[in-house]
Every structure is written in C-alpha cells, then in structure tokens.
C-alpha cells in the first residue's frame, strides 16, 4: 500500500484483504485514540486509505472484462471516430477530409428515407412485439403443464437463428399465387399480394417478421413481471368490487410499468440497429423501400469500400442511439422521482 495522502506512514492503516492485522497494537489502534491529542488527524488518513482500497477492489475484479471491452469496443470506436474524418485507403494511405464524410453520408439520396424507415421499423416492431407479447403472456400465464409446453413452443422463434427465420419467411412470402401466405389469402378471395416485392408492403412485411420474432421474448419478460405482481393487490381490488377489467387497468398495468419501460428501451435500441432481418429479407429493395441506416452503412463500407463515409454514418447512428438512451433514462428518472 502506498501512502496515498502523502503524510508520514501510519501503522494503523487498514490491511489489505487477506493480510494479517499485525500492526494493530494497543498503542496504535483504537486504544491510542482514547488518549486524545494527535489522534484526530489520523482518522481521515485511515478513512481515505480504506476508501481507496474499497474503491480499487471492484475495479480489479472488473479489470479482465474492462481490458477486453477496451480492446474490442473502445479502441474500435475511437478508430471509427478517426476514420470518419479520413478517406480510408488501406493500400494507398489515408487522406484527411475533415467533415467531408459526414457531408457525403448525410447527402446520400437514401439517407433521409433510411432514417425515417429505421424509425418506422423500430417503432412498429417494438410496439407490435410488446402488444403481442403482452397478449401472449396473459394467455399462457399459469402453472399447468400444457401451458409450460405452449410457452416453450411460443419461445422458439427467439432461439432460432435469424438466417433460418428469414429464409422461412421469404418462402412463405413468395409473391406468386402459389406462395404459402398467398394461398391462404386465396382461400378468402384475396391476393396475390407482392409482400417483400411490393414497394408499399415490403417494410410492413419485414416488420411482421420482427414482431413474430420479438413478441415471445417480450412475453417471457411480461410473464416474469406478472408473476411478481403482489397477489394481495388483486384480492384487495376484488374485495373493493373491482371488475376484471378494472383490476387489470388499475393493478396489473401499473405494476408492470417498469417492465414496459425497460422493454421499450431495449427494443427501441435494437430497432435502431436492425440489420440482419432487412439484409437477409430484402437488402433495402424494392426501390429503397426497406433501406435502413445499418444496411446503408453496410453498403457504403463493405460493398463500395467507402470505409470513411461508412464510419461517419456509424457515428451519426451512435449519436442517435446515445440521445435516445439518455432521453429515456432522464424521463424514467423524472417519472420515478415523482
């Protein structure tokens, strides 16, 4: 231990964990203090040291994870910030272009459309998943064995690989009359619909896949939330003559508020970064109708080799996500404080 306060070494400092308390003698320990006089300045020293040690220990436990985080997250992030100001050419040498990349990415013909569609997709998928997930949760809440089976079955989309999900849906969405969904529509005299191939249906079709995949996850969280609602509240409400709907409206919903908030936040962040489903289902087509920020960034960076411009796009997305996170957290804190 170093003498962090810069004062003369004091033998009474708290020993590190595991070290035997050999210095704790009656003269320098608690006993010394009772004599009065110069024991007063010692107390802050000891406290500061103890505080330092206590502060340091969690960091040491965190260190392995932090090192990985710094190497794999923070350094690439800093690298991306640097790249966003350069024309990146690994084989010819980078060229500084100032804010040129930011201008280039924000003036992309599809940029505004992609932002708008990202938001629509995020809001639609989030909202749809929460509503559907909640309905599912209410339907399958309970202890019975068959419910356990239903819950497991309903959860399958979440654990299935996105690539498989996308391929299955792509087959179901086949826009000809022989497609799976179009056959169903044909039975009731509708269709055939173009789905992913239609400019006005593609985004909604991608959204539906997102909801189908996201709802069971939300269902599980809701189930956990529902299980933690105090049963006494239901009984009290019933005693007070509350109808089923009133009990739901005034007991269940308010108890689930924290769950709903956290689901909204998680889903919104996931929504802003949505890439895999769009990339696999349409890759932005038809006519840019499903282009989202991530697919645009991917095309710029990985397909066209404009790594600097793509990095600038990533920074814009990063700022958007940070803003949403901070805004939601602030709002949550205010609501809780009320």
């Amino acid at each position: 231990m170093t003498n962090v306060t810069g004062r003369r070494p004091v033998a009474t400092s708290a020993p590190p964990y595991g070290a035997p308390p050999t210095h704790r003698t009656p003269a320098s320990g608690r006993g010394a203090r009772s004599r009065g006089g110069y024991d007063r300045p010692r107390r802050p020293v000891r406290r500061t040291r103890r505080r330092w040690v206590t502060a340091l220990i969690p960091w040491m436990f965190l260190a392995p994870a932090l090192l990985l985080f710094v190497y794999f997250k923070l350094m690439p992030l800093l690298q991306a910030i640097r790249m966003s100001f350069y024309d990146v050419r690994p084989y010819l040498g980078d060229r500084y272009v100032g804010f040129g990349n930011y201008v280039a990415v924000t003036t992309q013909p599809l940029f505004t459309k992609a932002i708008w569609q990202t938001v629509v997709l995020a809001v639609g998928t989030t909202g749809g998943s929460i509503v559907l997930g909640f309905l599912l949760a209410i339907l399958v809440e309970g202890q019975a064995r068959h419910l356990w089976l239903v819950r497991t079955a309903a959860f399958l989309p979440v654990v299935t690989t996105m690539a498989v999900v996308a391929e299955v849906w792509r087959i179901m969405y086949y826009p000809g009359r022989s497609g799976a969904l179009n056959t169903l529509l044909g039975w009731v005299g509708l269709g055939p619909e173009p789905f992913l191939a239609g400019e006005h249906q593609a985004l909604a079709s991608v959204m539906l896949v997102g909801i189908w995949r996201g709802a069971p996850y939300d269902m599980m969280i809701f189930l956990a939330g529902l299980a933690s609602v105090d049963r006494n509240l239901y009984e009290a409400a019933a005693v007070d003559g509350g109808e089923r709907w009133q009990r739901f409206r005034h007991v269940t919903l308010p108890s689930l508020r924290p769950v709903i908030t956290i689901l909204c936040l998680l889903a919104a962040l996931r929504g802003l970064r949505s890439f895999t489903e769009v990339f696999l289902l349409t890759n932005g087509a038809p006519n840019g109708a499903t282009e989202v920020i991530m697919t645009l960034i991917y095309k710029l960076g990985a397909e066209q080799g404009q790594l600097g411009v793509a990095a600038a796009g990533s920074m814009v997305l990063f700022l958007a996500i940070a803003t949403v996170t901070i805004a939601v957290n602030t709002w949550r804190r205010r609501v809780t404080a009320r």
Partner: protein
C-alpha cells in the same frame, strides 16, 4: 461499428517492401460456391500449377458477399495473393491500390491472349492490371419443351420475346393445370447491382449505352437517351403491363434465379454460358435451347460482354509465384484444364488464349452461340476508373422503375444520368 472493427489491424508499412519468400504458399481466391463443380475445376488448376512449377498454392472458393470479404481483407491489408474475379471489378480494385500492374509487352505468352480480352484487363489510365482468364457473353435460355408444346416460333424480335413470355405465363406450358409459370426469370435485386447487370444486355441490344465515350478517357451519361428509355420502358412493360416476370424478381439474386429457372417457374432466362452445364445436368439436355438476343427496335444485335481476370494483389510474399500462376492460367495447358470439357464446372468459358482449339474441347453446339455472340456482337462496360458506383446507381434506379409500376421511366433515367454525371466528375473523367 462493424466497419470500425475491421480497421483495427492497419499499419503504415509500405506495401511494396514485403520480404519475399519463394516457398510462401500462394492464396488464390475464386468467386464460386465452395464445393461446386467450378470450384473443383479451379482446385485442379491450382494443383496442376503447383505440380508444374513447384510453388505451393491453396484455392479458396467463396461466393456469397465475395467483394465484401475482399474489402474486409483489404482493410486488414491481408488480401489473398491472387484473386479470380469479374473483369468489371478491375476499376474498383485498381483505384483502391490493390493491384500489381502487368507489363503486357513482356508478359510471357501475352501475345497468345486475344486482344479483345486484354482490353478488359486495362484500367482507365491505359495500364494493364490483370491477366485475362476467360470471356463470356449472354444469351436467352429458353425451355425447348414449353416452346414445342405451345408451338411458338424462334424469337427474332423483341415482340417475339413478349409473345413467348405471355404464352409461357398464360397458356400453362407445364400442363399441371395451374397458373404457376412465368415468362421471364429476372434477377432484379440491387445487391451487387444485379438489376443493372441484367438490363445491360437489353440496353446494348437496343443500341443504347450507359455512358458515351466523347474522347479517349472521357465520358458523358447516355442512359437517358431515346434508346435507353425505350429499352427500360420495354422491360418495365414485361413487369407491369404484361405481368410475365417472376413475381419476386425485384428481390431476387442470381443464385435464386438459377433455382427459379430450374424449378420450372419461368421459361426464358437471359444468362451466361457458365450455366449451361448445370442446367443440362439438372433439367435434361433436350429441354433447353439457347438463342442469341434478337436485335432491339433501336439497334443491335448486341449483348453484355464479360469475363474474369487473374488479379495479382500488392503485398504478396511470393511475387514470382503470383506471376507464374497468371502465366499458367492463361497458357494452353491451363485454359484447357479450366474449360472442364467433360464436366459441368467450367472456370474458363470462352478461352482467351487464341491457340486453344475450342471446337475440339466443346462439342455442345449451344456453346457456339455464345462464342459467336461474344466475337461479333458484344460490348464490355465502359472502362471508367471505377464502374462499381455506376452499376450500383443504375441498379437502384432500375429496381425502382420495375418495382413501382407508377414510375416515370424517362424521369427516373434523367435523374440517374444526373447521378452518372456527378460520379464521372468525381472520378475526373467527365467529358461534357
């Protein structure tokens, strides 16, 4: 953030000062599905090269997102030593400084390679950056059994194509009593710019051009002239007026389009000779006919010319082996081997080496159609410094035109021409 991670491995050492090691294994990348017949042919080519020269070499076949994976390797400065890829990727690779220049005059065996093929290995600055490997063009694959059943004539005009497509869609050519067939199979996705690539043959066939060459090394947009608009409007009619195109066309890439044709969903497929062995094997030798694209109303006949080059990349630890491989691949021995005469995985489609006796190797007469079209009526894409952005922009626009039946063809192509002009200026080759 994905992009950021890829850059973490950059250093600042010069690419040309890599210590040489003649025993270093040569990494050869090929854009073919892993395990496919073509990949196996290429593997035989690489092994024959090793046996002949003593250099160690390893083939990697990759298909999905090939360029993306190359970009990632480049970001790490770890490009494979040799890349076998489309001729039109030359500009994109060269402008990023990836490629070793080739001295055509002193390249061993260079005089045996067709001049036409060498042109597709030349960058906008007049220097050569690749060694030609193979060439091909495009023609119409038509279901012979369907055409015979419905008694349709061989297409000799664009109207004939429309009539045939309508008949294939409405007259139940497979006889299963269901309306589940379509006239044309179109890979119309924007991915890799496929829509523009597919449309290029019709554009050239109608006497149109993407860019007009005003003087050597200078271009102006030409996509929105009368012939270009006519070709695009004709294709749009097939989508929107006659509804004779596979309904998922605007999302379809080529590998899925091949499946669509094989699964009897469409009867006319404009594609390259490399598909011939596969279709003959999977659908039977007598069910496919190959016809040259009939001349469009505005010009032609013509079709897109393409090929693949052997690209040698910067930073190799074994430059001698790189050069030896390019030399072997273009030699009579290498070309003959890669033509895979008796198999169904030709890496070399139409040989670029003039000493190869094609007739002795390829006996199927359908190959002759391609050879004839390539030699007489085919056009490579403009040799601008980097064609990739043009192809992508054209694909985005044309995909929009075909996907949105209310679109204004002329207006959309005017906008595309404006984008072309801006890109030409960005690449410093605008000739207006």
């Amino acid at each position: 953030m994905i992009v950021a991670v890829t850059l973490a491995g950059c250093s600042s050492t010069s690419m040309l000062n890599v210590p040489q090691d003649p025993r270093a294994e040569l990494q050869v990348w090929l854009r073919e599905p892993p395990g496919s017949a073509a990949a196996r042919t290429a593997d035989r080519l690489v092994k024959a090269f090793s046996a002949r020269t003593g250099y160690k070499a390893q083939l990697t076949a990759l298909y999905e997102n090939f360029e993306t994976k190359l970009q990632q390797q480049a970001a790490y400065r770890q490009l494979p030593d040799v890349v076998i890829n489309d001729t039109e990727k030359l500009g994109s690779m060269q402008s990023q400084g990836w490629l070793v220049p080739i001295d055509r005059a002193t390249f061993p065996g260079g005089d045996q390679i067709a001049d036409r093929a060498w042109q597709a290995a030349r960058a906008a600055n007049g220097n050569y950056y690749a060694v030609p490997l193979t060439a091909h063009t495009f023609a119409l694959f038509v279901r012979a059994d369907w055409r015979a059943k419905l008694g349709l004539p061989v297409p000799t005009t664009w109207d004939d194509i429309v009539d045939m497509a309508i008949a294939f869609t409405t007259r139940d050519p497979d006889g299963d009593g269901r309306a589940d067939t379509y006239g044309l199979v179109v890979p119309g996705t924007t991915t890799r710019g496929y829509m523009a690539w597919y449309f290029a043959s019709y554009l050239y066939d109608n006497g149109g051009e993407f860019l007009a060459n005003t003087q050597p090394g200078r271009w102006v947009p030409a996509i929105n002239d009368a012939k270009g608009v006519q070709a695009a409007a004709w294709l749009k009619d097939l989508f929107c007026r006659y509804h004779v195109v596979n309904p998922d066309a605007v999302d379809l890439d080529t590998s899925r389009a091949h499946d669509t044709f094989e699964k009897n969903l469409g009867g006319i497929y404009l594609t390259g000779p490399y598909m011939l062995p596969r279709f003959v094997k999977s659908m039977g030798p007598s069910r496919i006919e190959v016809f040259p694209l009939p001349a469009g109303p505005g010009g032609g006949p013509n079709a897109l010319a393409e090929g693949e080059n052997v690209y040698l990349t910067m930073g190799s630890r074994n430059r001698a082996a790189q050069l030896a491989f390019a030399q072997f691949a273009a030699s009579v021995e290498g070309q003959t081997l890669a033509m895979d005469a008796n198999g169904n995985g030709p890496v070399v489609r139409l040989p670029v080496n003039t000493k190869v006796d094609v007739g002795a190797i390829r006996t199927d007469p359908r190959w002759k159609t391609f050879q004839h079209v390539y030699a007489t009526d085919s056009t490579y894409v403009p040799s601008v410094p980097n064609w990739a952005p043009f192809r992508q922009m054209a694909a985005d626009t044309l995909n929009g035109v075909m996907a949105n039946c209310g679109s204004d063809v002329k207006g959309s192509l005017d906008k595309l021409a404006a984008q072309f002009a801006a890109e030409l200026k960005r690449q410093n080759v605008y000739g207006g």
